[in-house]
Symmetry: none
Subunit: 239 residues, 2 copies
DNA sequence: TAAATCGGTGCCATAATTTGGCACCGATTG
DNA sequence: CAATCGGTGCCAAATTATGGCACCGATTTA
């Protein structure tokens, strides 16, 4: 009996019996009491809610969870959810993000293949960096929620993006750039883009971007963005 | 890199790239060629259809197959997602959370009635406050991911919660309390609870809580928590 | 009150599995 | 022909999983 199939077996037995003792489970799956207890721990880590009761007549009970959801989510929505989880994880507290991940993984499994491809391409543009201690967060603006769909289109189709940018002095300019990455440096969020006119990468604080619009026309190419050492792709984050 | 997460990674990479060589995969997942070939075999055993082509320009290709149309999410997972969104929204930047909300709303619509009730009761316990500027975030610990299932059970069934708490001086005590709310004050997360022994509300920083356990027995009652003015229920947050 | 049951943890030696090289095969391409 | 590229067998080493044990605390039963 494999560790993975044993986990599956335990869930099945708990669903079937309603309540089982650790010893019963151990006998049924052909493993020791200790191993089953370890398995229970692992299953709980994976998000299964298993109640337990001590004493005679006690045992383990699996909360009848797993409600089927037939939600039809758009890539944008799933991406938005992923970004939220990424941001929370980036903020060092990492709380509960593994559970959220489990849910997202399930959602991802239900997306159509082409949607998954889109999602992956979007995630490849998502980077997360370290929190800087004692960050001054007094004058952070809010981020225009219209940015995400624009970013998404630009990332996926590699089309230029034009927007208004208000710099630190409050001066507004209009930029036309090639979006390469989204960078979360809590509490700040940046769009990292190649500026063809200036022949270099530029960081744009998202709370200073407004009125984004896609520029139809030729596609730009993806570039390798030179990030600092403490920045890592979302996909490779420690969990 | 775990064997299981490596399998997941390989599937993801294949979906993203379309075609990959074994050597590319090996480098990307940080394993040897031999191991990746074994993984490919295992994935094929699990039902994944992976085409292969020899020679120059060859490689592996994952057949874009069998997309399920339904996700199975537990209340815990949806709750975890919601909390992530709440945390991001609380961090003042509020970026894209409306899109994430839209996705969650769709999910919620497909949940069974009793699950929705549970979810609402959980959300009633979620509060969000203002970010304090120039917060010192240098000594924030990580939050035990085992907390969420415990909180959830405690909130839903109104059962007492016992845990170890390490105060600011590092002294550990064991507390038994009545959880009333989860409060997100970025970057800090708190459990707000009624302490019957001390006859008052107490805030517990989540990164200082460990070994949570439900105390079966009598249910406690919900109390009105006197929050500061700048704290608002998650459900009533501006979007 | 005592005994039995039951979940849970820490520890450690041992068993099992995984891993990375290595050599080598067959197919394909230029 | 040489260079790629998937695939297999084999083996020693590294990593994990496992079982057994002692022991704790809670709960039920006699």
């Amino acid at each position: 009996m494999n560790i993975r199939s044993r986990h599956d077996a335990i869930v099945r037995i708990l669903r079937r019996n309603g309540t089982s003792t650790v010893n019963d489970l151990a006998e049924e799956v052909g493993a020791s009491r200790r191993t089953v207890l370890r398995d229970i721990g692992a299953l709980r880590d994976q998000g299964f809610v298993i109640h337990s009761e001590s004493g005679r007549g006690g045992g383990l009970q699996l909360e009848p969870e797993s409600v089927q959801t037939t939600a039809r989510l758009s890539v944008t929505e799933v991406f938005a959810l992923l970004i939220s989880v990424a941001a929370v994880r980036a903020a060092r507290s990492l709380p509960f993000s593994d559970l959220a991940d489990a849910g997202l993984a399930k959602i991802e499994r239900t997306l159509a293949a082409d949607k998954v491809r889109d999602l992956r391409r979007l995630l490849d543009c998502l980077y997360v960096g370290q929190v800087s201690p004692k960050q001054d967060i007094s004058n952070i603006g809010s981020i225009d929620s219209g940015l995400l769909p624009a970013f998404e289109t630009s990332f996926l189709q590699r089309l230029h993006l034009r927007f208004r940018y208000r710099d630190a002095k409050g001066v507004e300019t209009i930029r036309k750039i090639e979006p390469q990455a989204m960078l979360i440096l809590p509490p700040l969020w940046y769009l990292v883009a190649w500026d063809a006119a200036r022949e270099g990468f530029r960081h744009f604080r998202m709370d200073r971007i407004s009125k984004p619009e896609i520029v139809e026309g030729t596609q730009f190419r993806r570039r390798h963005v030179p990030f600092e050492d403490d920045v890592c792709p979302f996909n490779e984050m420690p969990r």
